[in-house]
Point group: C2
């Protein structure tokens, strides 16, 4: 193997200039400023030239100001730290605020990493089941019931988690209602904002969140992995407690997390990110229009109606029927889109898939729609 | 604060073209191939275009081949995974292999993150004390004594950690002797190779390591944070166990770690990294020559003699004496070097400091030596 390494030298991603409609990727595309930053700061430990003991204390570059002042104001939360991503932030919160054996209550649409974080922290998970399709709604009242179910079994519930929005349907549950129920039950609320922080205006205080996590590579135009965690003063003291063995260092994040270019890309993109959250309503309007056009072609939007997020999940029996006889079978859709330089729907999917038009121009959206239109009209159904 | 964000847009590192002698940074400088890769793959989740469920299974780009075949062969270890860095790898090993309340034995020269990882995993730490200066040696026999001390107190010792080399003095302890002692005591050995993997030829099997961690941003010419963890088949089964709640995903690493450009920079640099480890002897020779020249100027190399690593720790009473009356006081050395476009000694240090000439040319090393020579001869002592 070690004689055949040249293949690793110059790997290309191979979708330059394409229209990318992957919801996972649309919010993580770098700004021009971040592309400059990633090269400028790419070398290992580049941000540590003027280290004074911890990442969040570095003044040159001004990471301290960004993390201590700017991000807390942006998220309307008391304390912020940089993490390796949303999942690592959720684990940090659970690991520091809950005791092994306790239970966390989470929405049934939660990202799989919420379950992993809980399991890794030694916690049980009680899910709030989502309703039937096509809405797959989570009712805030379900949190009350989930807490009661767990307590009825004698379990100690020590955190509620709400995925806002979830990554399957882009559904937005009323967070203040969940917060009220959680707080009435004496349980802190962690909001997973991987798909909201950096896309939508998000205020931890406004949502009633005690802890909030966001994802730089998913929604803050950052080169990942990188994320943020914010917490109320009271919980921040516990999550960001200092080590007993090395008292200068914060224990839960092992001293420093983002000792590289990622944090500088988040900072470089941040002015643009702040601006784009102000235009969130336009993005929602675009999504609704796009979904309406897709439905005219026979696709069916799942989740909230009217839809409140750029992440859209479609069911499309019509494409599934086509796939039964199409050349390349279930890979036909991927290939048809690829021919038109459109990427982002997972190879092999036809019957249901997710997409997003976040930050796409009207013209690009029309290109995508025309592609689906052609695919449907050019192919015979089975 | 949110009205004053332009400052974050185009931050420059400000040391372009400088000679960098920071040991923390010399092994993490990107290769030209990695600089191309970091731009090509900079967008969020760029590596996930053809995700099949986990990072280490991705075939396009060929992450699977790199992690499953190439890295295990390179490290001579059964299983490898990508981590956020060496510290996160050590935590993963401790968290999965040890039970809270147990004790790990570590060398007294260990990086502070070994202590943090143990504390975060709920473990006690028994240190093998380093000898007096200037050698600061760790004797392998000290592991035997540390294990006995802990056991004498009724503690259960469940891991030994050796920092190879340590990050203060660049000392290399005989790992096979430590391994033998650990194994005789029924305790697995974790080797922290943050300063060796990617610099020196390192074989986990050769060292007798059951677990090995390395750092991409420190020693593998990668844009961090990124690291590797390797483990014997037996321990890999426990460290990389799958989740019960989400059986497709590995629990300890929360499913996937490096969902971004970092892994592609590690892959792009890897052919060069393999080659440079073959020339390690030259680097050691360079360090010895450089240290000898520094000693002629009145500086004193600490740690192993003959020295076996590019990381060099100097004591320099002579510079300290100068600093007492120099303009700018203890910052004079930093400023004198900066004037000559040499970076990497922490601002304010004079009496002792670390540096490295790893991968510097003879001419660059001579530039650095001349700088020290001038500083000493141009300044009156206090």
């Amino acid at each position: 193997m070690l004689d055949n390494l040249d293949q690793f030298r110059c790997l290309k991603r191979g979708n330059a200039g394409a229209i990318n409609i992957d919801p996972l990727q649309r919010g993580g595309i770098l700004t021009p400023e971040a592309r400059e930053a990633v090269l400028e700061w790419a070398d290992g430990y580049s941000v540590c030239d003027y280290c004074t003991g911890s990442l969040e204390e570095i003044q040159n570059p001004p990471i301290k100001e960004f993390v201590r002042q700017v991000l807390p104001e942006f998220l309307e939360v008391d304390q912020v730290r940089i993490t390796h991503g949303a999942r690592e932030g959720i684990f940090a919160a659970m690991h520091s605020l809950c005791e092994p054996g306790e239970t966390v209550v989470a929405d049934g649409n939660a990202h799989y990493t919420t379950l992993l974080a809980a399991e890794l922290a030694g916690l049980k998970v009680e899910l709030v089941p989502a309703g039937e399709g096509p809405g797959y709604r989570i009712e805030p009242q379900g949190y009350q019931e989930a807490i009661e179910r767990a307590r009825g079994r004698g379990e100690r519930v020590s955190m509620a988690v709400l995925t806002y929005p979830d990554g399957n349907y882009g559904n937005l549950v009323d967070p203040t209602a969940v917060s009220e129920i959680s707080h009435d039950a004496g349980v802190p609320l962690t909001v997973n904002g991987a798909y909201s922080v950096g896309r939508m205006p998000v205020s931890a205080k406004g949502l009633g969140a005690d802890v909030i996590v966001g994802s730089g590579h998913k929604s803050m135009a950052s080169s990942g992995p990188i994320g943020v965690i914010g917490a109320s003063e009271e919980l921040a003291e516990r999550i960001f407690r200092r080590s007993k063995l090395v008292p200068k260092k914060e224990l839960e994040i092992l001293g420093c997390t983002l000792r590289g270019a990622g944090i500088l890309t988040m900072m470089a993109s941040f002015p643009a990110v702040v601006e784009r959250t102000k235009r969130w309503d336009e993005e929602v309007e675009k999504a609704r229009w796009f979904a309406g056009e897709m439905e005219k072609l026979g696709m069916h939007l799942q989740g909230d109606r009217p839809h409140g997020h750029d992440l859209m999940f479609f069911k499309s029996e019509i494409l599934y029927e086509i796939s039964k006889t199409a050349k390349k079978g279930r890979y036909f859709l991927y290939r048809e889109l690829k021919k038109r330089n459109i990427f982002g729907i997972k190879p092999g999917l036809t019957r249901q898939f997710k997409l997003s038009c976040y930050l796409l121009s009207r013209q690009e959206m029309e290109t995508v729609l025309s592609a689906f239109e052609e695919v449907v009209s050019n192919h015979p159904k089975a």
